[in-house]
């Protein structure tokens, strides 16, 4: 485990990017690790590109400087490419392959690029793991657990020093009772998926 981990979580407004950041941060705090997270609210209620920075370890500044992101959790493939400059060659990308075409594509009569081309582009530059988190989330009966799956999978593939127990504590703290079971299941699915992709 590194002394300091810089995590950038990106996606489209409405995908649970903030929730993912809170889950990771709450788990870090529960583990007794210093954490600082930066959120952007406001104009982009839904549908805009959003990102959240989580800095785990002994650091005060809430923004991950460009080129210093260690782990990138992308809820959407185009958004993974959009934050490429925030990572380094050593960074690990965990990418949800659920595509959300920007409306600007439709207006220009263009189609969303193929997931394969986006992922292979990314793979030429970085270490990349992919998952269709939305499809996996269906198994929990609650599509919005996709962000929990992503955090679970990513934290298995890149060691942030946070134990499963702390993540489970965080889930219990953050989600209302009726969603806890689905999120615990999602966490489990994410861990299994991580084990499968490294094989």
């Amino acid at each position: 485990m590194k002394m300091q981990s810089n995590v950038v979580i990106c996606g489209v407004g409405g995908q649970g990017v903030l929730t993912a950041g809170k889950l990771l941060s709450t788990a870090a705090l529960s583990e007794g690790i210093q954490v600082v997270m930066s959120e952007i609210h406001g104009l982009a209620q839904r549908g805009g590109a959003v990102s959240v920075d989580v800095r785990i370890g002994n650091v005060l500044g809430p923004i991950v400087p460009d080129g210093k992101g260690d782990l990138i959790i992308a809820m959407e493939p185009l958004e993974a490419l959009r934050v490429l400059h925030r990572s380094s060659r050593e960074s690990v990308f965990v990418v949800n392959t659920q595509k959300i075409p920007p409306v600007s594509l439709g207006i220009a009569h263009r189609e969303y690029p193929s997931i394969e081309s986006l992922v292979s582009d990314l793979k030429r530059r970085r270490t990349v793991f992919t998952v269709n988190a939305l499809e996996l989330a269906r198994k929990t009966g609650e599509l919005r657990t996709a962000s929990t799956i992503m955090v679970s999978m990513a934290s298995a593939l890149y060691d942030t020093g946070i134990t499963d127990e702390s993540f489970l504590n965080a889930i219990k703290r953050l989600f209302p009772l009726r969603y806890q079971k689905a999120n615990i299941e999602a966490f489990d699915l994410g861990r299994k998926e991580a084990a499968a992709v490294v094989k």
Binding site: I40, G61, P65, L84, E111
Partner: protein, 623 residues
């Protein structure tokens, strides 16, 4: 314990992961504030999101006021009654409240009055990035700046103590990064709310007649001189290290600077200022006498720098100061670790071996968009069509601040003018017969009451030529669905009245006022064309609840039934994606598809105006 229970827990002494704004809300609760008021604005809104939920539980009165000026006046009223009061807003909100502020500072306050301004460097969700510390200087009131959520909470309590000690309003200034940073905060005990209400001041104490104001001014200046030398104030902090370099900083700049000093082991001592008006000169003079080289790290204007350079000159201190005025640091946009590192390295002549990060790759832009199901999309779609039908191509589109500002982007292109809250109608009132031009005005329900009414009065009075589309989505949507004067407040509905937009506009004398449901495209088109053909000031109240509120209500009892495209009927004309542009729709091959996970089931796209081929239908079999 849930997050909300922790937020109101009277004992405190817990470590919570709080957003800066949540920490401020906790500070307000700990300080025993009796009255809080606001007009929502990012990046200050989350303070209200918390207080709105918990105010009654802790015995505090909270209100979403009609605008920031009234919010300040409400808090001032509570203060004159001897109660601690807190008013908060975004930076441009303070422009609205400034008229009252400039005289409340003169008259002074009784119960502590703290005014929070959340500034937005980089304009993440604002029209400018003004540095509101300058308001403290302008009004002659103290300015307190926290750097972290922990300080945000702690300094709120200090701010109330200072306000009451000197009977002076205190400006509490945050920035987006402090308000929206989440980190560990240790809570403290909650002070009881003072309940005794009285107005036993001298009758003239809060009166700004010129003869009295002249006396107030002298008192105000005396208070500020005393504060500058008050040693009980412990908001400034020195972190000493070996070496001849010193840095003076405030706000989030402190965090970036500290990280850099530690990472590169730099010989820089830091004077961190929490009280940035008035400056406590003695502390700064001592610091400057100790270190011959001073770096000043602050976002936006060279506010500290100007004052510190003046101090050095006045006291004949020979010191080299590095800041914005000599080009070491930028005066625009927010800082991050890299910006501060570049400035510090240049000032100190350090060669820091930094690998330049790779440049950003070009990716299709994804600006914020109106949500699936947003009633504004239907309104823009219809107004655009009506203008085309009537061959009106010279109307100036005067829009305003809200989610509907996004109507200025493709494909609607409706926002020739977007300036500030309520300017849409004020601008349109300038479309007078003498100039021979007309406008179409877009204004939201909340913005209408906030700053739009005087503009409408002026438009009617001067016979301006405009059709006003009131986008009445029953909420203040952009900042997170806060209540508006025209819709019943779901939490406090027993206590409040609902104000009719229709009767308000009719009362002012708008010649034609009609209500329409933007989801009913045909009816809406009919009413819009009718208004556009009528001379003078006309108005359509496009009334339909915000899609986010509607979705929440539906999800509580059932689920959203999405629409889908019947491939055999879709001709691939792409009119829906180019003209209506719902984010749930996209192109696949030569057809359009709807993403069931994004569709909100509003069904507007199934109307013939959007898809003339009837290719879009409700998908009853969707999972």
């Amino acid at each position: 314990m849930s997050e909300i229970d922790d937020m109101i827990d009277p004992k405190g002494n817990k470590i919570l992961l709080l957003l800066g704004n949540e920490a401020i809300a906790r500070g307000v609760i700990e300080a025993g504030v009796a009255s809080a008021s606001t007009y929502p604005g990012t990046p200050s809104s989350e303070v209200g999101d918390v207080l709105y939920r918990v105010a009654r539980k802790v015995g505090m009165r909270f209100e979403y006021s009609v605008n920031e000026k009234v919010a300040l006046e409400v808090s001032f009223a509570a203060s004159t009654l001897g109660l601690r009061s807190f008013v908060f807003m975004k930076h441009v909100g303070l422009n609205v409240a400034a008229d009252a502020l400039m005289s409340i500072s003169y008259s002074g306050v009784k119960g502590g009055l703290v005014i929070m301004s959340a500034d937005d460097p980089s304009m993440h969700s604002s029209q400018n990035e003004q540095d509101n510390r300058l308001y403290g200087q302008l009004a002659h009131i103290p300015v307190i700046e926290p750097s972290t959520p922990q300080e945000a909470k702690d300094f709120i309590i200090s701010a109330f103590e200072l306000s009451e000690r000197y009977h002076i309003p205190v400006l509490f200034r945050t920035t987006t990064r402090v308000s929206h940073e989440r980190s560990a905060v240790k809570t403290g005990p909650v002070a009881g709310i003072r309940k005794s209400i009285s107005f036993d001041y001298g009758k003239m104490d809060f009166n700004s007649l010129p003869s009295l104001a002249r006396q107030h001014k002298l008192n105000l200046e005396r208070k500020m001189r005393e504060i500058a030398h008050d040693e009980r104030i412990s908001l400034n902090r020195m972190i000493e290290r070996e070496g001849s370099w010193g840095a003076i900083t405030s706000g989030v700049g402190y965090s970036y600077l500290t990280d850099i000093i530690e990472e590169y082991d730099l010989p820089v001592s830091v004077l961190k200022l929490g009280l940035t008006n008035p400056l406590q000169d003695n502390i700064i003079l001592d610091f400057m006498r100790k270190y011959n080289n001073i770096i000043i790290v602050e976002e936006l204007d060279p506010y500290l720098e100007t004052k510190i350079r003046a101090l050095a000159q006045l006291n004949s201190i020979s010191v080299k100061i590095y800041g914005k005025m000599d080009g070491y640091f930028p005066t625009d946009y927010e800082y991050d670790g890299n910006v501060v590192l570049r400035g510090v390295a240049r000032a100190m002549g350090l060669k820091i071996d930094e690998k330049a990060p790779e440049p950003a790759v070009k990716v299709t832009p994804r600006p914020p968009v109106l949500c699936p199901g947003c009633p504004h999309r239907a309104s823009f779609f219809i107004v655009k069509r009506a203008l085309r039908m009537l061959k009106i191509d010279d109307a100036i589109i005067s829009s305003d601040i809200g989610c509907y500002s996004l109507g200025a982007l493709d494909p609607f292109d409706m926002g020739d003018i977007i300036i500030s809250m309520g300017t849409s109608v004020g601008y349109s009132s300038g479309m007078v017969p003498e100039f021979g031009k007309r406008s179409v005005t877009f204004i939201g329900d909340s913005t209408l009451f906030h700053g739009g009414l005087p503009g409408i009065v002026n438009a009617v009075k001067n016979n301006a030529q405009t059709t006003i589309i009131v986008l009445d989505n029953r909420t203040t949507a952009m900042t997170g669905q806060q209540p508006t004067p025209s819709a019943l407040d779901p939490t406090y509905e027993d206590d409040m009245k609902e104000i009719s937009i229709e009767s308000t506009l009719k009362g002012i004398g708008v010649s034609k006022v009609v209500e329409a449901d933007p989801y009913d495209l045909k009816d809406m088109l009919h009413k819009v064309t009718d208004c556009l053909k009528t001379p003078g000031v006309t108005a359509i109240i496009a009334k339909r609840e915000c899609a986010i509120l509607r979705d929440r209500k539906i999800r509580r009892v059932s689920k959203i039934v999405p629409y889908h495209v019947i491939p055999d009927k879709c001709t691939g004309c792409f009119r829906c994606v180019t003209d209506f542009s719902c984010p749930a729709m996209s192109i696949k091959g030569n057809k359009v598809v709807i993403d069931a996970a994004l569709c909100d089931g509003c069904g507007v796209c199934a109307e013939r105006f959007v898809c003339p081929y009837g290719a879009i239908e409700v998908d009853e079999n969707a999972e």
